[in-house]
């Protein structure tokens, strides 16, 4: 819809037309709107704890409570937690990662429907919204992760129950893959839901089910899950969750093949997501 037309007989800045080229992410334009991106991120973070007593502490309370429940439910009762590592650390890292992924996916997959009123009134690169959600979610993730980190240091130096290894230096990369995967899924789903609303129902409970197909409550090295191996590895989240736990706790499987699979999967997903997102954002306001 919009592209710089320098070659035209006159020097037009902007051309609006019916046909738009495929997959033209205007990086330059996104950069121009970077202040808006920062503003959205700030808004998401600030407004969450306005008029609350505990304020940002809520970011921490939630995963801690969930972890305790997981320890009791999956660790004690179901006996899914692995031997040799503190259950609390195991579930805390799982839940921190999972809640980042699921919340980001949930919120980015509603980009168009939830922001229709703004999108209907003013133009800015639509990708700004999901990007801001990814970033504000990441800030929250970092706060929660630092809590894990404190516990981890305790287990590492005081009780000496966890066994990290050198692979830990690659974790930022796999974290990035996780972020991009959530973004890719989110924008793909929101693009399709503008026309076919059914998908939004599927997503909200599909994400819940996905947790059980991801090593959140269990580890792949647990003998009880061995027989479903291949199917579980096909889930692109599996290898990343395993790699994290292996790097920090020394439990789980570090599988280079499936990590590569997840990375490639994510890149293809993200590309597809951006192409369809760009196609939809020009006309969705008429169909939403």
């Amino acid at each position: 819809m919009n592209s710089k037309l320098k070659t035209d007989e006159e020097d037009w800045d902007l051309c609006i037309s019916a046909n738009n080229s495929l997959a033209s992410v205007n990086i330059q334009e996104l950069w121009q709107y970077r202040d808006l991106l920062i503003m959205f991120v700030k808004r998401d973070i600030i407004t969450v704890y306005k008029q609350t007593i505990l304020g940002p502490i809520w970011f921490i309370v939630q995963p801690l409570l969930t972890t305790i429940i997981f320890v009791v439910l999956f660790g004690r009762i179901a006996g899914l937690s692995p031997e040799g590592v503190p259950q609390f650390a195991f579930y805390l890292i799982s839940i921190t990662m999972w809640s980042y992924f699921s919340e980001t996916l949930n919120i980015t997959s509603k980009t168009f429907t939830e922001n229709a009123s703004i999108f209907g009134k003013v133009y800015f690169p639509r990708l700004i919204i999901p990007l801001s959600k990814v970033i504000s979610g990441f800030v929250k993730f970092l706060i929660q992760f630092s809590i894990f980190f404190l516990f981890w240091l305790y287990y590492l130096f005081v009780t000496k129950q966890v066994h990290p290894n050198l692979y830990i230096i690659f974790t930022p990369f796999f974290l990035l893959v996780l972020v991009l995967m959530a973004l890719g899924f989110g924008i793909l789903i929101t693009s399709i839901t503008t026309k076919y609303r059914d998908l939004s129902f599927l997503v909200s409970f599909g994400v819940q089910l996905l947790m059980y197909a991801t090593p959140v409550a269990y580890s792949m090295s647990n003998p009880k899950v061995q027989k479903h191996h291949l199917l579980l590895w096909l889930n692109p989240l599996t290898s990343i969750f395993e790699a994290f736990k292996y790097s920090f706790l020394g439990i789980g499987e570090y599988n280079i093949f499936w990590l590569t699979y997840s990375t490639v999967f994510t890149l293809i997903l993200l590309f597809l997501g951006i192409v369809i997102f760009n196609k939809v954002d020009k006309s969705f306001i008429d169909t939403v």
Partner: protein
């Protein structure tokens, strides 16, 4: 003459009627099949022009059809038309909220559009935070907003409340703040859609003043949509008239408004309420009324009928309006001590004569009320096309006088003492 900054070329917009979401998959498949066979998109040919008075048999309608015109640097363009004529659709396409179905638009310079005030305001955030937020949504950088911050707060008149969450603002303060942000945008082209319908009279005046400054002093291009003909004629120098999604007229603002008012009345929408047995027929002496000088006497020969009802002592009330919808003459029969009688099943004519009213040139519209003896309205006819005052040879000097600012033009003299 300055160069065009916006070039609109054959722009059309197709909308789907009815429920979206039922059968879209089959529509998609149909379209895909037709296009892959090299045929025309089946959804396009069935679109008819957007006449809302008739129920369309088709699923699609053109909200805009083949619109082409240019806007030059520094112009203030007023876009007028009835509800549903396509004004907002055109603005939406220009502000890139939606894309046209056909055609293209070329734009030079940065566009800021104000289709709604306060887009993206978050109730939990303070005035200060929202100024930055809203400015950023409208395309300003943080630096630009910071440099204009004091001006914005000052214009909105909310110095005291800048650090209060906007959910505690009165609705007036909210709107003033929102408009202030938008009015201080630094863009070459400003698009404004009926936002002036908010705020008190003083603030509306301030807004109009600001828009005048923007266009005339700063030389920026402004596109303005409003139903307020007065505001349009004050601010704009050129106009575009849209009729059912097609281009009705484009040219200077005075002619555009005139042709808008013509389309308005020729459609014959006469609002008559009669439930008490008196029927409005017509104005008998149209010929006399179509060609008057300001100082002519105006005679209205008004024809009514009655059903099986009778009234004693009815009061007649006449109000004459000009093109700006201002009441210029109001008369009531009881002021001159007259009462009328309506006898059953009869036709009757009333002659309403105004002696040399010296009305300013232009079309005038008549509203008639008939009240019964207890003061209860028994007939109401709203603003029918009544008479046309021409300016010809009134002062014996020129055939045409321009820039009439008053509702009446008495004979006058200006001399040295």
């Amino acid at each position: 003459m300055s160069k065009p900054v916006i070039k609109i070329d054959n722009v059309s917009k197709l909308y789907r009627l009815g429920q979206i979401g039922t059968g879209t998959l089959s529509h998609d498949l149909k379209r895909w099949w037709a296009l892959s066979q090299g045929k025309q998109d089946p959804n396009e040919k069935i679109g008819v022009i957007n006449d809302r008075t008739q129920k369309s048999k088709n699923d699609f309608a053109w909200a805009l059809k083949d619109i082409s015109f240019d806007i030059r640097q520094g112009d203030t363009l007023g876009i007028i038309g009835k509800n549903g004529a396509g004004k907002s659709t055109l603005l939406k396409i220009l502000s890139r909220v939606t894309k046209p179905t056909k055609g293209n638009i070329k734009i030079k310079g940065r566009i800021a559009s104000l289709l709604e005030v306060g887009t993206g305001f978050h109730p939990e955030m303070t005035g200060r935070e929202n100024i930055f937020m809203n400015g950023a949504i409208l395309g300003m950088s943080k630096k630009e907003i910071a440099s204009k911050f004091d001006e914005i707060v000052d214009f909105a008149g909310i110095q005291q409340y800048v650090d209060t969450p906007v959910k505690r603002y009165s609705s007036g303060m909210y709107v003033r703040l929102a408009f202030a942000v938008a009015a201080h945008l630094e863009s070459e082209i400003l698009i404004v859609d009926e936002v002036l319908a908010v705020g008190d009279a003083e603030f509306q005046k301030k807004c109009l003043g600001k828009m005048n400054d923007v266009s005339h002093k700063e030389g920026r291009t402004v596109l303005f949509v409003s139903h307020n003909i007065y505001a349009i004629s004050e601010i704009c120098n050129v106009g575009v008239l849209l009729i059912n999604g097609t281009l009705g007229y484009t040219g200077n603002i005075k002619d555009t408004i005139e042709s808008y008012l013509n389309t308005n009345t020729s459609s014959g929408e006469v609002f008559v309420t009669s439930n008490k047995g008196i029927i409005w027929n017509e104005i008998k002496n149209r010929e006399h009324l179509s060609d008057l000088k300001p100082d002519d006497d105006i005679n209205f020969n008004l024809s009514f009928s009655s059903k099986n009802v009778s009234f004693d002592n009815v009061m007649l009330d006449f109000a004459l309006y000009n093109e700006n919808n201002e009441n210029v003459i109001h008369s009531r029969s009881n002021w001159i001590g007259k009462k009328f009688i309506v006898s059953p099943n009869s036709d009757f004519e009333i002659k309403y004569k105004i002696k040399s009213p010296k009305l300013a040139p232009g079309k005038h519209y008549l509203t008639i009320y008939i009240y019964d003896s207890s003061g209860f309205p028994i007939l109401h006819i709203d603003k029918i096309d009544a008479c046309n005052i021409n300016s010809k040879n009134y002062f014996g000097t020129s055939l045409y006088f321009d820039n009439v600012m008053s509702n009446t033009i008495p004979e006058f003299s200006i001399d040295y003492i």
